[in-house]
Symmetry: C2
Subunit: 679 residues, 2 copies
């Protein structure tokens, strides 16, 4: 009696014995090895490619001889001749086991493959899409045992793909009969499986084997910008990313002005809903054109957004979000047909998933940040700050997570700043001020050199030096503070007080000149007293929110800080801490997470299990409402000073000089009375 | 130790002991007594009215003393004062048990009340609607434990109504917040529960207690006529019924010509879909206007229709239904949003249920007939014939049911008949011909007297005598056969052959004059040879279908026959049998069921359990395809004679004379060679 051959799959290490002649795909499935297949083992799709390894494997205790897999059969050979196959690869559904063998499943053959995210420290996204393609053979109709084409497809999917139940909407039902006949009773279907269970949904069908791919859109619907990634639902690859302004801006710059517009104007909410939906359809067209993808191949969209954007996207009047107790119409995650949002440019059966909201002021964007940054799995106490017009703030670790939002306003994005502009070529993004000479040097977006380097002026002529973007203004204000041009209360000193002619009078206050381009017809770029005040308001709101969560958690410091948001990634941690935007931590404990909300949308798009995860996590997050909390006001006032009126910043004081200056001329009572060095 | 009082509910006979002070509604619920409540026991809806009985009840072994129920409390008294309460009635949720008592639940207080159908022998419809109203109290939002209004409603429905899970579409979500606030956190919701399980669906919400009713439409979508009943979903009451012509008639009179239109004209199927949906919206407006009902209170529609109508309603190309193997796109029952069918006149969240199709030629109308007539529960072998442009034929008993359809054409409905007209005032509907004098007498629709009675001419002047309707032509042909004016082959004799001047020449054939109104400017109403041929084709198709099923069942007779269809109810059984439309059975075994398909639609509308029932029954029905069955052609040819060329009609011969005549002049070979008396 001989023993069946032993098969060892790598990288999983799963192993088992199988009778000679067992296809590798069958063995993999029986062992629960993650090996993909769309065509169901018919040698068409090539998703089940494996790399057999031969020779001695002392680690596994076997020797794989050259004949351990079957010779190439006709199907496998035809595939190789027609479509090509990488050297060393075999089709797992065709090659059969003939002897002991080690079989490697390359990442691209795994269903639950991981998508590496750009940031080095970010965890990868594991693919587990809600929509997948399946090749299926459907029995022909039998007049004497009549059933509908859909019912036979349903049975075929049950038999061939273990799909327990199936529903189909009318748009795909209208294509069904011609597709099955054109494909000679073979077809490829797109199936959507809601993570909450229930029947699978038939989204589309194509004749025969269809390999054009299934795509999805992860959309970060912000108050100011709508950003979207077009992703391949099979491997998570981002084919195109784009953003447009949110056209609702014409109804109001910030959230509360849009809520007011809805309250004051009958039908106003509807106007804003229509505006954003039109913009979304345009954005989808842009993305699909850029990626050269048929928009009808977009089967899923995921949305993250703040509560007001959430309601306006859904066509819900946001009026209740403008007043206590800030009740959402619905807070749970939503799975809807994309057509319910008038997304006419995608597949007519496409599905939309909207992440859950945490509270009336803490939206699906905050949930997405939690999904991307996973504070609920952190061993140390992490503060995640998503910097935007509204800041979403999360504080927690694996035992407890708190969340709030804070109305920072648009100053961090360069709005309401005299020389502010959006991040575009020509904008000052980095700045240093010499504490001795008080002279600045800076870098602009699009140019990889400092302004005091040779050839800068010539090179900058391309774009001009046009203004200061969000990260630039934070650095400018912090550098001014470190250089002694700005006192703790936020007052800019005069030329006499500071010893530099760059401090020029502006009415009863002073401005600091960073760049005077007026000789060449360019702008005079300064930081004005009013700019400082705007930044102070914004950073105080941010810090006060974080402090409120720390109070609730009963701590006076955090272990690390994550700066998130499209803009958060560009903030210099040192400068943010000099400003007092974030609590005092060691500098190497401040990380940038990029657009964590957008990443959360991508995770939810690529992984249906992540939808269940975030729905569960959100239920366990403790919500803190800043808008009516008296301590928020106290924290806000105390945070007005740079970096802070009362809180110690011991880590900061070790790395950055904060000169004891005061430029109080007696007319400004908000600060400047303290002259001791902070620390 | 005292014993708790004994409560006996009638008519159910359910009994139990309950502590003093238990509300009657609570006791009823604990015993599983069918006692309605919309307001959940708040003394608002009055649906839980009961009639307590006092005195000696030897049958139940108790004596109910006057104080066996509590005195009227403030809530109950206020209800009585404001809204009134029938003498002897109490509100079950307010009156509490104080001693032994017998409590009668009147029919209108039962959820599963029965709706008596018009026909005396029809079983009643038991109410078990998929959509119901529930009054609910929702907790107010709490800023410190924020959840959406929908989530709190969901929890309230779980707590107060045991609704396990809830989903809401955007139209109702958009109304939710204002309704809850307007109702001071009380509201009435319309909930739809799919009979296949899954979460309940929130269809609508109103502030406070809403008692405007929920309505539904049962729609019989025929090739020629669309008929609809507007029903109250609480008690099944029909508020209005109406019908319109199917506007698809302009694309083709019968089913196959519509399929041809779809095949020959790109977009033709879509044109027909749009036409029928527009007509449905118009019909709904007519019905709601007639019943003075807000169309937004229509929450459900059920459809029965043949397969071609089914596909065109759904926007599916019917081309496959025009050719073997007659494959349906989908055969199972469908639950869809009404909006998917562009039914814009109903509630935006309204649901549609379409009964299952049995086969490519045997549609949801046949399934509805099965639901109404229940052949699968019959002890004897019943043949159910739904007479229309296509006849749906069911044969079976509790052990087996067979089904087919047969293309009878429109002759039975008076179309393709020289003096044919639809059933309207002035149409001849009944006719008798004296076998001795060969003189006819008749009745017209709208006049309750025979044409040979005194005063008929004057009375008929109102409407005129305008033509012959479907039931009239069947009687006319059968009476002609019995009076010896027509031979078994279907030839009309000449005046010489028949001895009456009413047989007049028409080309090479003859016609029989029923009424000559030409002197008064009215029509000459005759039955022509061509009319006879049309009726022969129609009745042969019907009989051949029935015979095919009998062959399949292995029987040569049936126990009883049910004539269904809007028109079936008006057919005289004797005349139908003389014609040979139906197999020979004792005359008292031929029943009329009225519009059984429409009744099936009403049953499915009022009883969600019936949906599950018919889906189950349909799976067990054996389908017989007439279109490609050679024996169908044989049966069809043999059935051309009147009543039949070969089958004996022993029951018929006992009650109706069938003279042995032959008018064959040698030119017609289809019959007339047999002269023996049938029997």
């Amino acid at each position: 009696m001989t023993t069946d051959p032993l098969v060892i799959f790598t990288p999983s290490g799963k192993r088992g014995r199988f009778p000679v002649g067992t296809p590798v795909l069958t063995a993999a499935r029986q062992l629960g090895v993650d090996l993909d297949s769309v065509c169901g083992g018919r040698g068409i799709c090539s998703r089940c490619q494996v790399t057999p390894a031969f020779g001695d494997f002392p680690k596994h205790g076997i020797t794989a001889r050259p004949g351990a897999l079957s010779d190439w059969n006709a199907v496998e050979q035809r595939y190789k001749d027609k479509r090509g196959l990488t050297e060393g690869r075999r089709l797992g559904c065709q090659a059969t086991i003939q002897g002991d063998v080690v079989i490697d499943v390359p990442p691209e053959s795994q269903v639950h493959k991981q998508v590496i995210r750009k940031a080095a420290d970010a965890r990868p996204i594991t693919m587990d899409p809600a929509t997948r393609a399946c090749f299926v053979e459907v029995p022909e109709p039998d007049m004497h045992d009549p059933t509908g084409d859909l019912e036979r497809l349903k049975q075929a999917l049950k038999d061939q793909w273990q799909v327990a139940d199936l529903r189909a909407g009318l748009p795909v039902l209208a294509k069904l009969q011609s597709a099955l006949r054109k494909g000679n009773w073979q077809g490829t279907v797109a199936l959507f499986q809601d993570h909450r269970g229930g029947p699978a949904q038939l989204l589309d069908i194509w004749p025969g084997f269809h390999d054009a791919g299934l795509y999805g859109l992860a959309i970060d619907l912000g108050s100011t910008t709508i950003a979207a990634h077009l992703c391949d639902l099979a491997d998570g690859h981002v084919l195109a990313s784009s953003g447009v302004m949110n056209p609702q801006i014409r109804f109001g710059e910030d959230l509360m002005s849009r809520v007011s517009y809805a309250m004051m104007n009958p039908g106003g909410a509807g106007e804003m809903t229509e505006a954003v939906r039109v913009a979304l359809n345009g954005l989808i067209q842009t993305l699909t054109a850029e990626a050269n993808i048929d928009p009808a191949l977009i089967f899923e969209t995921t949305f993250v957004c703040n509560p007001v954007m959430h309601h306006l996207l859904l066509g819900l009047d946001p009026v209740e979000l403008g007043q206590a107790p800030f009740a959402l119409a619905t807070s749970d995650a939503l799975t809807l047909p994309a057509s319910a949002l008038d997304l006419t440019t995608v597949n007519p059966s496409a599905q939309t998933y909207i992440l859950p909201c945490i509270a009336g002021h803490v939206g699906a964007d905050a949930a997405a940040v939690a999904l991307a940054e996973q504070p609920h799995k952190s061993k140390d106490l992490v503060l995640v700050v998503d910097v935007g017009t509204n800041a979403e703030i999360l504080l927690g670790n694996e035992s407890r997570v708190l969340a709030c939002s804070s109305p920072t306003g648009p100053a961090f994005e360069g709005a309401q700043i005299s020389s502010g502009q959006r991040a575009a070529p020509g904008a000052i993004e980095r700045i240093e001020i010499d504490p001795a000479t008080k002279e600045p040097r800076f870098r602009i977006i699009g140019l990889d050199m400092w302004s005091d380097e040779d050839g800068f002026t010539e090179a900058a002529a391309n774009t001009g030096i046009t203004g200061i973007c969000g990260s630039g203004i934070i650095e400018a204000v912090a550098e001014m503070r470190m250089a002694g041009l700005l006192d703790p209360s936020g007052l800019i000193g005069s030329a006499e007080q500071t010893g530099t002619e760059r401090c020029i009078p502006e009415g009863r206050t002073h401005s600091y000149v960073i760049w005077d381009g007026s000789a060449e017809g360019g702008p005079l770029i300064t930081v004005t007293q009013s700019d400082i005040r705007a930044i102070q308001l914004a950073k105080s709101a941010l810090y006060a929110g974080a402090r409120l969560l720390m109070d609730e958690m009963g701590v006076d410091h955090v272990d690390r800080v994550v700066l998130a948001g499209a803009f958060g990634a560009h903030i210099s941690p040192k400068h943010a801490m000099v400003l007092g935007m974030i609590p005092d931590v060691p500098l190497d404990k401040v990380q940038s997470a990029g657009n964590a909300a957008g990443t959360g949308a991508r995770i939810a798009l690529c992984n249906a299990g992540a939808r269940a995860e975030i729905e569960q996590v959100v239920r366990q997050i403790t919500k803190v409402e800043t808008a009516i909390e008296p301590r928020f006001q106290e924290h806000f006032v105390a945070a007005n000073a740079i970096p802070h009126a009362t809180d110690p910043f011991p880590q900061l004081s070790r790395i950055a000089p904060l000169p004891e200056v005061s430029f109080n001329a007696g007319g400004d009572g908000s600060g400047g009375r303290r002259r001791r060095r902070r620390g």
